[in-house]
């Protein structure tokens, strides 16, 4: 398993080396904010958490039927919800742990890093750290390139020009940093 501190040093170097158009600067800054959050073990991005988490998380079985876009959207919704009020019994926590981790491994086996990152983020928001989520996180960290960004070959990048490719990889890298930042914050609680 890779050491997260080493991983983050490489990503930080990569993001700082990027020359991206003005409209994508915010994305770089968001990535750097997550890196700082990981260093400080504290989430520095503040989000208004107004949505009712119980209306968003209904049943772990839903995760089986969601497509990848719905899982990514779910991570966004959970991030915007009042997870502190998530009050379920031990058995239900185990079920969520099992399904979030199991589906993360399922997408990991297909190499879909965005979905794996989303599932890790949901788990971290809910303070769930089951062994399958840990395994999926290790897998995610192993997907780092020597340059520092995340993601191995994508067929999508073969039809993009160099600038578009960098933005594509930056988005994915920021998604992963987001998950790691939330996960790192929760681990020290």
């Amino acid at each position: 398993m890779k050491n997260i501190s080493e991983v983050i040093i490489h990503v930080e170097r990569w993001i700082k080396s990027l020359e991206v158009p003005e409209q994508n600067r915010a994305l770089c800054e968001l990535g750097l904010l997550f890196i700082e959050s990981i260093h400080k073990k504290e989430m520095l991005l503040t989000v208004e958490k107004a949505d009712d988490v119980h209306k968003i998380l209904k049943s772990p079985i839903d995760l089986i039927n969601y497509n990848r876009e719905e899982i990514i959207e779910l991570a966004q919704q959970v991030g915007n919800s009042n997870v502190e009020t998530w009050n379920v019994d031990r058995e239900e926590i185990n079920n969520w742990n099992q399904f979030l981790g199991g589906i993360a491994l399922s997408y990991a086996s297909k190499g879909d890093l965005s979905v794996v990152a989303s599932l890790i983020r949901i788990s971290a928001e809910l303070n769930l750290h089951g062994r399958w989520i840990v395994e999926a996180t290790d897998f995610l960290l192993d997907q780092q390139q020597p340059e520092g960004y995340f993601g191995l070959y994508f067929k999508e990048t073969s039809i993009l020009n160099k600038d578009q490719e960098v933005i594509f990889l930056l988005r994915l890298t920021v998604d992963i940093l987001w998950a790691l930042a939330v996960q790192n914050r929760k681990l020290i609680k």
Binding site: N94, I103, L105, S106, S109
Partner: protein
């Protein structure tokens, strides 16, 4: 009737009715399980014939499951094909494929059926050194030794010797397991548990670890709609007495929902490519798995009841 008995009765009736529906489909398509086509041997047919013989053996050896009526004409179906010269002589005529041809006979032999011709053919195979001249991956080696043991032609395999070399005995992470590896795992457990007749001869922590792997695979194959592997994994979990979890109950319900009205079960959620695959070849194996799952669950429930 108290609630527990009522639930048990409802559970048994549901499984019995699903199995009966599938057995009806299998009976309707019995001729498609023939190993011959137009007076020629067909290897796909031999495979289907063999797989049907495995289910038949499981059901025949367990009369208490009460499926005799549904499988009443299967014995003659197998005997007729085994007695067909085209099939019977293939064991000697096609040495490379001899074991595949012999397999259905071995199955029937384990239920008490014997044929002098096949006994001699088996002796031919031994004289040729057939079993010494094939190289098998570890779970297939287990497969071979298991069925020879069950047909009373050799002793019980040394499970502890074989297990560490199988995928189940040595893999590190489920994300590295492809479909073939998953089938290797389900089959390894079929044999090591003697199709649910015995507990695994491993420590409880190893068994829990194996159940953990099965559950990770079950979530994956449920998500991708691979009903065939879902069914086999559910059978494994039942053999390991891990069939009363939230995951198991919901996955089993999803599997039961995959049943077609006519009793067949598609191998995959996504519709088959009709031009490339017949409905029969797309459904038959998963339908066998579905019947086996129902039978295994009924058997386990009745065993538990009897031990009270």
């Amino acid at each position: 009737m108290n609630i527990e008995n009522e639930l048990k009765s409802d559970f048994l009736l549901t499984h019995k009715s699903f199995a009966a529906k599938s057995l009806s489909w299998l009976n309707k398509h019995l001729d498609s399980f023939s190993p011959t086509r137009n007076n020629n041997l067909c290897l796909d047919g031999v495979k289907a014939f063999s797989e049907l013989s495995l289910l038949y053996t499981y059901l025949k050896k367990r009369n208490h499951l009460e499926f005799e009526a549904e499988i009443s004409n299967w014995q003659s179906f197998f005997e007729n094909h085994l007695k067909n010269k085209l099939y019977a002589e293939a064991v000697r005529k096609r040495p490379k494929e001899a074991y595949h041809m012999m397999f259905p006979y071995l199955q029937l032999r384990s239920t008490g059926y014997k044929s002098g011709y096949y006994e001699e053919s088996h002796q031919y195979m031994i004289n040729w050194g057939h079993y010494d001249s094939i190289e098998l991956v570890p779970f297939r080696k287990m497969d071979l030794e298991y069925f020879l043991w069950k047909s009373d032609l050799q002793g019980e395999p040394d499970w502890i010797k074989h297990f560490p070399s199988t995928i189940l005995g040595r893999f590190q992470s489920t994300i590295t397991l492809d479909e073939s590896a998953a089938y290797s795992i389900t089959h390894t457990l079929f044999y090591m548990t003697d199709f649910g007749n015995r507990s695994l001869s491993l420590s409880q922590s190893d068994i829990d670890e194996i159940a953990n792997v099965l559950e990770a695979l079950l979530i994956h194959y449920w998500r991708v709609g691979h009903y065939d592997l879902m069914g086999e994994l559910l059978i494994n979990l039942t053999f390991l007495e891990k069939n009363n979890t939230y995951l198991y109950r919901n996955a089993r319900n999803a599997f039961l929902n995959a049943w077609n009205e006519d009793g067949s079960i598609p191998a995959m959620k996504n519709k088959r490519n009709e031009s490339e695959q017949s409905e029969f070849s797309f459904c038959y194996h998963t339908t066998l798995v579905g019947v086996l799952l129902c039978a295994v669950e009924i058997n386990k429930t009745l065993q538990k009841e009897a031990s009270k």
